[in-house]
């Protein structure tokens, strides 16, 4: 200041004005810095960073009751730091993004960190509770500060990370709510069991009634008058005792064969009431009526049963003890229910997908065992192989079959005949697995396909061909078949395959390079202008395929690094962890990548469970617009991580 003034003699007026403006700015900044010094994280920041903040920060007043910023205000232009007063943050919309719905902020606290970092509108309404003064730092200066001040960066990153944590908890809460809604015996009957059950009038002849039952695939029928007031029920037991054994002609009206005066409860009665009634009266169905006595639903013993929490042990026992596919079908439904309960309890996606895989493995093994009762392979070494996501222990709620067989024919055996026997067996297993909720593979990657029911030598040769001639089909196959795992039988055969595979890849660097090139074909859907590219799938405009453009990127990269570093595991997370140790990738870098993969997997699970229709195969297509602000932000960050590992892969394998 003094130097400027001492040289005032030589200055012309214009220069003088500039100098005096600089004086003013310095003085004002001095006062702002004095304020900043009293508050975290600014008190830890370097003087230059504080000066930068102070020289750019405007001061604005917001009278009590006025909105400072909200979702409608468009992209956030400033970072707001409260100098004095109180500000209330209120979530916009009905979905709560963070654990708070209303948050009070005071002097020294800033907002909206997430929105200004991401350069988008705020999700919250921020309004002044009392007269409030704020420092307004323009968004570009905020971002500059984030990149120049490590302390400030850490503060903001931690803040966003805490949001991530909140988001995860929020997700769990959502599941927990649904779980408790579904599972308590105190829930009213109105929400349990079948709605609008099929009814017939008492005058309906038996033949017509039985046809109705047969067509609808139901085991019991409610008989009600025109007013929908139930007068009786007719079950399979009745059919046996009162029709067949009593030799009642099928032209008889059903009213004469039904059990009259069925047990009924009103809709507001609880599941517990129904359970109690069933136990007391020895009945299997309770009819549910509205206050006027009109039929609205039927609750079966089975509906109530599923309300109770299914435990891992019970499922394991029921799987291992299952005598037929029907019993396994129920177990498969229980696996889904249990997986959902675990989601509700906050189990992460890594453990969850492994857990689903473990139970599915048990189920598959049981199907394999049951079918062995009809097929005999005594004296032959063989193994059932799982490929793809099943091979990687990364199954989600909807995974189709990817399997194969490896066998070692005895020296004098007729290999062709033996293969036929394996194929016939595999076909039975594939069909049963389909009935248990593992749909047949559309690409026919199944053990019943002669291509994937091979001897050990044939597998080795197949691997060798793919690796030596890495044309596109071979590379595609590599992404499925190189993630294999023995599910049943002689695991040593799979080990031999793996050793062979790793030896081959180690001696064919060109193959890994081709794999790398292939893995880089698909890029994460990050837009240059918009956050996400949602028009990549012509069949699903506005949506992102989280598998194709998300988890698969990580999986592909993990596979390459695993093969490059000789990692035997097939699970992507384990592959990345182990490979990173061997390749000296920094721990925090890997953790960020794994977090990103886990988040995408969690979103897939959530999407498949919460949005999938019950009993229908869920997809991986999500509309980012339907995600809450926080999940969107984390998803974007996860895609950035995907881009990061792709970049690394590109460098490591010099793919352009």
């Amino acid at each position: 200041m003094t130097t400027q003034q001492q040289s005032g003699q030589e200055m012309v007026v214009g220069q003088m004005e500039t100098a005096l403006r600089q004086n003013g700015r310095n003085r004002m900044a001095g006062h702002t810095v004095a304020f900043l010094r009293n508050h975290a994280p600014f008190n830890k920041m370097k003087p230059e960073a504080l000066q930068h903040f102070a020289e750019k920060a405007q001061i604005a007043f917001y009278p009590a009751g006025s909105e400072i910023i909200g979702p409608a205000a468009g992209n956030v232009r400033f970072f707001y730091l409260i100098e004095s007063g109180k500000v209330q943050a209120r979530q916009a919309g009905e979905v709560t993004v963070t654990e708070y719905s209303i948050l009070s902020l005071g002097a020294g606290e800033g907002f909206p960190i997430g929105a200004v970092t991401a350069g988008r509108p705020s999700t919250n309404h921020y309004s002044a509770v009392t007269d409030t003064f704020c420092y307004l730092l323009p968004a570009e200066d905020f971002l500059a500060l984030m990149s120049s001040s490590p302390e400030f960066n850490l503060f903001c990153t931690r803040y966003i990370a805490s949001l991530l944590d909140q988001s995860r908890r929020q997700l769990q809460l959502q599941f927990a709510q649904r779980a408790s809604e579904q599972q308590t015996l105190n829930s009213p009957l109105a929400g349990i069991g079948a709605r609008s059950p099929i009814t017939v009038t008492p005058q309906t002849v038996l033949r017509a009634a039985l046809e109705t039952m047969s067509q609808a695939g139901i085991g019991s029928l409610v008989i009600a008058g025109e007013d929908r007031k139930p007068v009786g029920v007719f079950t399979r037991t009745d059919l046996l005792e009162r029709v067949v054994l009593a030799q009642l002609p099928l032209t008889t009206p059903i009213g004469e064969a039904m059990t009259p005066n069925p047990f009924m409860l009103e809709e507001h009665a609880t599941a517990y009431d129904a359970m109690f009634a069933m136990a007391t009266h020895g009945i299997r169905h309770v009819l549910v009526t509205d206050a006027e006595g009109h039929l609205t639903g039927v609750v079966s013993e089975r509906d109530l049963f599923s309300l109770q929490r299914v435990g891992l042990r019970q499922i394991r026992q029921s799987i291992d003890g299952a005598r037929n596919v029907e019993a396994l079908q129920q177990a498969a439904a229980d696996v889904r229910q249990l997986a959902f309960n675990m989601l509700a309890q906050g189990v992460g996606s890594e453990q969850l997908t492994q857990f689903i895989s473990a139970l599915n493995d048990a189920l598959t093994r049981r199907v394999i065992q049951l079918n062995l009762e009809n097929h005999n392979f005594d004296g032959i070494e063989w193994s059932w192989l799982a490929f793809g996501s099943e091979g990687r222990d990364e199954q989600t709620f909807s995974t189709d079959q990817d399997n194969g067989i490896v066998f070692q024919p005895p020296a004098d055996a007729d290999v062709a005949a033996l293969k036929q026997r394996f194929l016939a067996y595999a076909l039975d297993v594939n069909k049963d697995l389909d009935r248990c909720g593992f749909p047949l593979c559309k690409g026919n990657i199944m053990a019943s396909n002669p291509q994937w029911c091979l001897t050990l030598d044939e597998w080795k040769e197949q691997f060798g061909t793919w690796i030596r001639k890495p044309h596109p089909d071979a590379l595609l196959n590599a992404t499925i078949f190189f993630d294999f795992r023995s599910l049943y039988g002689k695991a040593e055969l799979a080990d031999a395959m793996r050793r062979h595979l790793l030896a081959l890849t180690a001696s064919n660097p060109m193959f890994l390079r081709a794999m790398a090139k292939n893995a880089l074909d698909v890029e994460p859907p990050l837009g240059k202008i918009r956050d996400f590219l949602t028009d990549l799938e012509p069949d699903a405009p506005g949506k992102i395929d989280l598998k194709k453009y998300g988890s698969r990127i990580f999986v592909d990269v993990a596979r390459i690094y695993a093969m490059a570093s000789g990692v035997h595991n097939t699970n992507s997370i384990q592959r990345l962890r182990l490979a990173s140790q061997r390749l000296n990738i920094r721990g925090d870098e890997v953790n960020a990548i794994l977090d990103a993969l886990n988040f995408i997997q969690l979103l897939r699970l959530q999407h498949q469970y919460l949005e999938g229709e019950p009993g229908k195969q869920g997809d991986n297509l999500i509309d980012p617009e339907t995600l809450n602000e926080l999940d969107r932000r984390i998803l974007k960050e996860s895609f950035r991580q995907a881009r990061k590992i792709q970049t690394r892969l590109k460098l490591d394998y010099q793919v352009n």
């Binding site: 200041m1 007026v13 005096l20 403006r21 310095n26 004002m28 001095g30 001061i59 007043f61």
Partner: protein, 221 residues
């Protein structure tokens, strides 16, 4: 510094002004003042406070000027201004340039301060003595306007500290420098604007009128 000796020496005439100052002054005189019929949000107000050796504009010395603009509802850090005359030891041309620089900075915007007779008095004398300018800006006097806008807090003109205390803006750091004062005035002025709009005083012209009227009314009645 702005002593009687210098006043006599200069004879109140701007004849001895440096060439660049004279040129600037001429340009400034012929420049158009900003329209005052726009909303507060679009009006650039210049909040100003001074440092002086005493309270009498006719006898005491002007030691410094601190100013900051309020524009689009905020105090703008890159539109602030500070002169410290005390370091200059009354050196003629530099003082002239600094005063001229203030005129350029203010650019005929309405000036906001607390006690126009005090602040305006010192500025008027300085501009008159040094630049031969009868400095008559559009004043907004918060000392008079505050009780008019915040009736519930008091009906008469009160010291600035009273208002700072009312609004919890008292920094409690004892003596404030002129820039701190200006920034506090700027904050209070923003609060005042909210009230003014509530009373349909929504343009600078109306605010200036209200300021005149309230000071006139309160002085004479």
């Amino acid at each position: 510094m702005l002593s009687l000796k210098k006043l006599l020496f200069r004879g109140g005439a701007p004849t001895g002004l440096p060439e660049d100052v004279r040129a600037s002054l001429d340009a400034w005189r012929s420049s158009k003042a900003p329209a005052l019929d726009d909303l507060h949000f679009h009006t650039r107000y210049v909040v100003v406070d001074i440092v002086s050796s005493g309270l009498d504009p006719d006898k005491d010395q002007l030691l410094g000027i601190a100013a900051s603009s309020i524009w689009q509802g905020t105090i703008q850090p890159d539109d602030t201004f500070y002169i410290d005359f005390s370091t200059l030891d009354g050196e003629g041309a530099a003082v002239d340039r600094q005063l001229m620089a203030f005129l350029l900075f203010a650019a005929k915007a309405p000036l906001v301060t607390y006690h126009v007779p005090y602040v305006g008095g010192f500025l008027q004398r300085a501009f008159n003595e040094r630049l031969g300018l009868d400095f008559q800006p559009q004043w907004v006097d918060m000392a008079w306007l505050m009780p008019a806008m915040f009736e519930e807090q008091g009906h008469t003109v009160m010291p600035l500290d009273h208002w700072l205390e009312c609004f919890g803006l008292d920094s409690g750091e004892g003596r404030r420098d002129a820039m701190a004062n200006t920034l506090l005035l700027g904050r209070i002025f923003q609060m005042l604007l909210v009230r003014a709009v509530g009373k349909q005083i929504d343009t600078a012209a109306r605010l200036v009128d209200e300021s005149r009227a309230s000071s006139f009314l309160r002085r004479t009645h």
